[in-house]
Symmetry: C3
Subunit: 262 residues, 3 copies
């Protein structure tokens, strides 16, 4: 069995933290294939981690083992957990960072979860500040070698979900959403899913004091420098500028409100 292990963290690539996790995994399973999703989640930002991981994880094989570590509560009573749904495993701190993925993809009843409390599947020495290396990485490596979920800890069903902020509608029928991520290109991605925009191709879109008209098909549909709205590759309404950084030039920030009026 050669299961794929993915890593999503807020550890960055500068300090060797991610390298250590890979060392730990390869010590336990020298044949593991390890893929980085991202390590640049804003430090301790569970909501951003939940969004970026949900976006990316759906493109991986069903038999993947996903390790997701955004962990402000490391060293406290927050539980380390592992979840299984179908052939897919998730290993994470119990703080809701998996909420978006598991909401979108699976009926809750099909999810089995355990509290990781069998220290024989961890490193021998456990620090209080780096469970990614000491608990989550070795647990994922053992799963990749065929250890079963049940062996790793006691079953639980009260693992944490976080509230995913959904768009609302105001009295005039306008859709009110917010910016949830800004990507490397400066595109501002909102929490308004494409499905909610049926019949709104010609809508008036308002954000950060700007008004745009209509939803375009692609970046090049804007004149150079023109702010435009389109559907991002994540399937959400996005504000962009052709060959420019929309967020920087329009002063859009995470959390900003967006209004889509019919």
């Amino acid at each position: 069995m050669n299961r794929l292990i993915t890593l999503t963290t807020d550890f960055g690539l500068s300090d060797g933290f991610v390298g250590m996790m890979k060392g730990v995994i390869l010590n336990i399973n020298p044949d593991a294939t390890i893929v980085d999703i991202t390590h640049d989640i804003a430090p301790q930002n569970i909501e951003e981690g939940a969004f970026l991981f949900a976006n990316a994880s759906r493109f991986f094989p069903a038999h993947a083992i996903h390790v997701v570590v955004v962990d402000p509560g490391v060293g406290t009573a927050r539980r380390p957990i592992a979840l299984q749904t179908g052939e897919t495993f998730f290993v994470a701190p119990d703080n809701g960072v998996l909420s978006r993925t598991l909401r979108a993809d699976h009926a809750s009843s099909a999810i089995r979860a355990v509290h990781l409390n069998r220290a024989e599947y961890w490193l021998a020495h456990i620090s209080n500040t780096f469970h990614g290396r000491d608990i989550f990485a070795p647990v994922a490596a053992h799963l990749s070698r065929g250890v079963s979920l049940d062996a790793l800890g006691d079953p639980i069903d009260d693992w944490a979900r976080i509230e995913i902020a959904l768009p609302t509608r105001d009295a005039n029928g306008a859709l009110i959403g917010k910016v949830i991520h800004i990507d490397r290109f400066g595109n501002a991605i909102t929490n308004i899913a494409a499905e909610m925009l049926a019949g709104l191709d010609r809508a008036e879109i308002e954000i950060a004091g700007r008004v745009m008209r209509g939803i375009r098909a692609t970046y090049a549909d804007g004149a150079p420098g023109e702010p435009i709205a389109l559907i991002s590759s994540s399937g959400h309404l996005e504000i962009a500028r052709r060959e420019a950084n929309a967020a920087k030039s329009l002063q859009i920030e995470i959390g900003n409100q967006i209004r889509v009026s019919p």
Copy 2:
């Protein structure tokens, strides 16, 4: 068959874009070996992408499949293409990003090219903004499993080349070039290839209002802080400062002119 797939993009590592491409590839070919060349090309900078990719690709095995995505025209009529020369494959948008590599390495007549227009080798759903994930990654994965170039689309011979700016000579016999890349250390790499510098070891070199004399062998040939010219590891004339950031301290930018007078 276990072909190597390389990835060169302007996607950065923060948003999970590259992770998604790897997920797509491993879904199609679980045994693929994937290597990152760089993902930090300046957004939409085809010329920089062409330079960095040409530099790096010559160190990879001949049987590699190179995916190069700097794609300002994503979602427009610009074609997705694949090229083959000998055992090597290239998968990219048709915008000239491969020009330097194919100019340097191969006679054009030996290159076969196709317009990627067989959707059965793509993801089922194609976004308008992320063909790296939806078209280029799956096509590379299919190539790595032995699918032939011909199966992927119709043959073309008018794929895009971009003009590579070559140095010129002025009336006094001086070589006039320009800065095409600044690396992490602040070294400014120019478009003047080492071959053009025969007999110019003692030349006068002028850039950003500074004059230097001669071409040194290595960084340590400069006094600490002294600006020096030498041959970079890419085989081009480079301006550096020993244990310092030359571009920042001398205010050198991409596009700056450099003059080498005998």
Copy 3:
């Protein structure tokens, strides 16, 4: 034999340097497993490289081949070297970047070293500025295929060590150390190892004009925003702030003194 090769450098990920090293390795050994430890060591900072590598390398399998390139003297008379201790190999410039690792882990007498001077194990063309690609990567690849240390060069025993600054004690019995690394989260890691802190759980800790009392167990033991001292995951005394960047907000820099008074 499929030995693991790790890479630790100050090359960054932007310029394709690390990609080239991987291309060189895979050209020689297509089955090599390559893991990045970090490529973000501050340019030419041997001391930081030594610290980050020593931290990470102990989590890798004993049969790993570690390539560590922080190389301000590239192209000069400084020797390229390879070392072996037990099953583990190290490949690096001879400038002390391995000092922390080999001091901590091994009795010197058990280390065998060679001066890499057999060009048949290098690339055909050697630049003066990038031995990571031209010498260290191919040597590691040959080691991973089973070439012996002895084949790579002449034995030496005078390879460079750098002085590792150890904490001292002042007349009042206080421990005086210094900050040696600041991580992505802004935690300031010092050179005071946990073993030196026995009986000092309630010590007074002074740094950058601040005084803290006692050593906490984990980040969450601080009130939000409170500066605290705790043991880092590297096993050293660390200054942090709960869910905040301690180094930035307290203006702590590498080299700052820390005093621990009983």
